[in-house]
Amino acid sequence: MATSGDSPASSKGEISDTTREALANPLTDDDDEEEEILANNHAEGSETVLATTLKEDSQNPDLQRLAINSLGSDDHDTHDIFITVDDPQKHVTKMETYATYKVSTRTTRGDFDHPEYTLRRRYTDFLWLRQKLEETQPTHLVPPLPEKHSMKLDRFSEEFLSTRQRALNKFVTRIAEHPTLSFNEYFKIFLTAKAWELSSHRKQSASIVTRFGSSFKANASAYMLKNRSPEYTMMGEYVQTFGDKMGSVDRISQRILKEQTAYQEALTNFGPAFRLWSDWEVEMTDILNAFATSLESCAKAMEEVIEGQELHYVPLIKEYILYADCVKSVLKKRDLFQMEYELAVDEINRKKNEREQVKISDQNYSIGAIMGKNPQDVKEQKGVKLETQIDKLQKQVEFLNDKTECANADLKADLDRWHRNKRRDTKEAFIGMAERHITYYEQMLSGWETVMYVLRDQDLELPEPPHPSFSSSPQQETQNSSSESKEDSWVKVEADAVEES
């Protein structure tokens, strides 16, 4: 894949021939579109094809790559490419209004011409990259992009742009950290190509993309797999539930944020109300102002909670909602590989059956015999024909089996990694949420404790505050006093002892 776009294109023709033969079965016939889709599928797996034809060894290089793949993710030090997406900018031209984001790359990889790149990309460029990654790497879990539209916000508002910028940064970082995806040719193009180069790349592939996506789902769901490993069924069910739960978490957090915002607004007005009142209460000015100060600091603390949640918590939950869909679609793709394989196995079994039939059958009444041919010859001819077909099919089945295995292995590694990331990310997000709340309550506590000091200083006649719980728990106090009294008695005993001696 040294020269961009060439290798998939050239191998495509070659493979579609084999596919056409392989798929000459009743399930997919007469469906040009479907056939082409499967052909595309093969195009993407071109590397695998070449590998199997060149190497007799059943051990696939993809599998070796996978070994590295799963190892690499644990070891962050091996990362040799660092990318950031920042600085969203709005552009207004005569034709359209759009936003671009600065993509900066630093890398030590040899196949990059320069160690550093800085360029600007639009959202559609990211979209193109993701589609390309899905096409060329169907066995891998490609991270999700932020959703296209947000109805709530203006598309070019600063808030929307910066939220999207952070999500895009996450997307690119996730790809860069992926041991396979980060070496994808299109990723390199995305990171290095000049704007016009990129747009020419994009034009080349536009048509395939749309056709590919449209009938994929229908195809996969139409066929019931015979022996899908329960692992994938479970994963499918898992990710469905997971997606649902993340959706719930998102809705809950949105509602909480809404309430918190309303709370914060009211709190912001609460302090000034006390300040206004303080003008009228000469003897209580200090107390009322202390109240106001405390309430103002509470309002500020709540604002920080909201900001933190919006910045660090909500985007992550949203990302994992989208991730659930990505996992679903990559599982579907895997099913497709297995479906191909199972169809081929069916086919070969049928041919084998036919061969057995031919062997024992009486060809006297066959069309050939009627046409005047020797029934024995007909039988042999048929046998030979079937034999070659079976041979071909056998190869096809082996190839598809390899491919499915590969897909399984790729996917397994990716899903493992995804599970690890998910665990780490959600854990971090939740811990962050808890910490933000702890900070909030700590600020609230110190604010009101200050008020208590003012209240106590204000009026010395005032007896001890009715509830001593604000400074130290009553148990502690009683403990202290009891230990003191113990000490006293201890001292006394000692003194007595001294006297006695």
Binding site: T241, Y263, A273, T426, K427, A434, H437, Y441, L455
Partner: protein, 454 residues
């Protein structure tokens, strides 16, 4: 005030010490004596504990066959223990049932009888500035009745704590005398006075609308200031309570919605292997976060009710100011009368120049000068009127002076009471907030630990 009396003394009053009702009457009187004697020298509230201990929903068929459904409150009064010793007074403690309208009657009577006193307010008839949707709450809602019970108790205790009002005989009988109380309070004729004062109030409000016509010549600056202060007190507390209601509503929402995390975490934990336990227990803490808000809301609501009392205290203060205005108005009117009469007299004896176009001048021009006899008679009549007017002025002056003296010292007392009450209220609010913050810290720290186990 035409309410059928709910008091049926035998069934309503019970005596916890005395089971047989024979000596009841005499013993209650003894307790009544104690109360009367005590209240003369000391604050009643220091020596007698007054509580509203219970409430009960009652239905009664009135004279017209109309059903009357109301809530009755059980008032219990007992002598406080001193130095751990119980005072042996017969008829102590005493308890009896009263309904809200009787409290209202008592308060109206006090307002009329002690015009210069800032009479403690009753709990509001309809609840205002609430954070919960109150459309569903009727007058027999448990929460509503409970708040009213507390409010009525505060009212009685405040009256008992007032140096002067606590001596009132009808107040004592309100606490002790089940039957005939209504008759005796009606006998004071306070309602007639009340009607008068109501008339004044109406007149006042009408005049207020016309504003210009009711302008005092010499408004007392102190009372003017108090009036403004009362208005500001009301406005400020209202503003604060309104914001608090909003805060309470949203805070309640925040906590309750966190409870949903509890549910989702628990469901989610079912499909997670390593994270499951942590999620599950974090969910439990979220449930706790949801639950404990109820207690805090209740406590905060009580504090806010205490603050709300001062909105109505502000109204009482305003009422006193208004009375001062009415009295001042009366005084000025009598002064005007006096000076006009004096002018008439002076004109008659020729001391003052009569207006050229006056009726007098016209008459003398047309009919010729008056006869000396009639002039004398008119003079005498005027002298009488002047004397009368002078007396009225003096009386009004005396009245307003004494009123203002009383009222101003009452305002001082009120200010002290307000300062102490508000301080206590602020302390309990701050303590509550601190409790809340501590609870929040503990809870989120626990939750964080659960998340860390994920």
């Amino acid at each position: 005030m035409a309410v059928s009396s709910p008091d049926d003394s035998d069934s309503l009053r019970y005596d916890s010490d005395e089971i047989s009702g024979s000596g009841d009457e005499a013993k209650t009187r003894n307790f009544a004596d104690f109360i009367r004697e005590t209240s003369k020298t000391r604050r009643l509230s220091d020596h007698v504990e007054i509580l509203v201990v219970e409430h009960e929903k009652r239905t009664e068929t009135g004279s017209m066959g109309m059903k009357d459904v109301y809530t009755a409150y059980l008032i219990e009064s007992r002598i406080r223990e001193e130095n751990g010793k119980k005072k042996q007074v017969a008829g102590n403690p005493s308890s009896l049932w009263r309904r809200y309208s009787e409290f209202e009657m008592l308060r109206n009577y006090l307002v009329v009888t002690y015009p210069y006193v800032i009479v403690p307010p009753l709990p509001e008839k309809r609840m205002t500035i609430m954070w919960q949707q109150m459309s569903t709450v009727d007058h027999f809602d448990a929460d509503f009745v409970e708040r009213r019970r507390l409010g009525l108790e505060t009212f009685l205790q405040r009256v008992a704590a007032h140096d002067e009002v606590c001596q009132d005989h009808l107040f004592h009988t309100f606490l002790l005398q089940g039957e005939n109380w209504k008759d005796s309070i009606m006998g004071t004729g306070f309602q007639a006075k009340n009607c008068l004062s109501l008339l004044f109030l109406q007149q006042d409000s009408r005049i207020k609308n016309l504003n210009a016509s009711f302008r005092l010549k010499k408004p007392d600056k102190r009372f003017e200031g108090l009036k403004i202060y009362a208005q500001e007190l009301r406005n400020n507390i209202s503003a604060i309570l309104k914001i608090r209601a909003k805060l309470a509503g949203t805070l309640y929402g925040i906590h309750k919605i966190h409870g949903n995390y509890g549910r989702v975490f628990s469901e989610w934990s079912g499909i997670e292997k390593e994270m499951g336990d942590g999620l599950q227990s974090a969910g439990h803490f979220m449930d706790a976060y949801k639950d404990y808000i109820d207690d805090f809301m209740n406590e905060e609501e009580q504090i806010s009710d205490q603050l709300k009392e001062y909105i109505y205290f502000a109204d009482s203060l305003k009422a006193v100011c208004r009375k001062q205005e009415v009295m001042q108005y009366e005084l000025e009117r009598s002064e005007d009368l006096l000076s006009s009469k004096r002018l008439q007299r002076d004109q008659l004896i020729g001391k003052a120049p009569s207006k050229t176009l006056s009726l007098q001048g016209m008459r003398s021009k047309i009919f010729g000068p008056e006869k000396p006899e009639t002039k004398d008679a008119r003079l005498r009549q005027l002298e009488d009127q002047i004397e009368e007017a002078e007396e009225a002025v003096l009386r009004n002056q005396r009245e307003i002076m004494s009123f203002m003296d009383h009222a101003l010292s009452e305002v001082e007392r009120f200010k002290k009471q307000k300062g102490a009450d508000l301080k206590e209220l602020f302390i309990s609010y701050a303590v509550l907030q601190i409790k809340m913050a501590k609870r929040g810290i503990t809870l989120w720290t626990n939750t964080k630990e659960c998340f860390e186990k994920m």
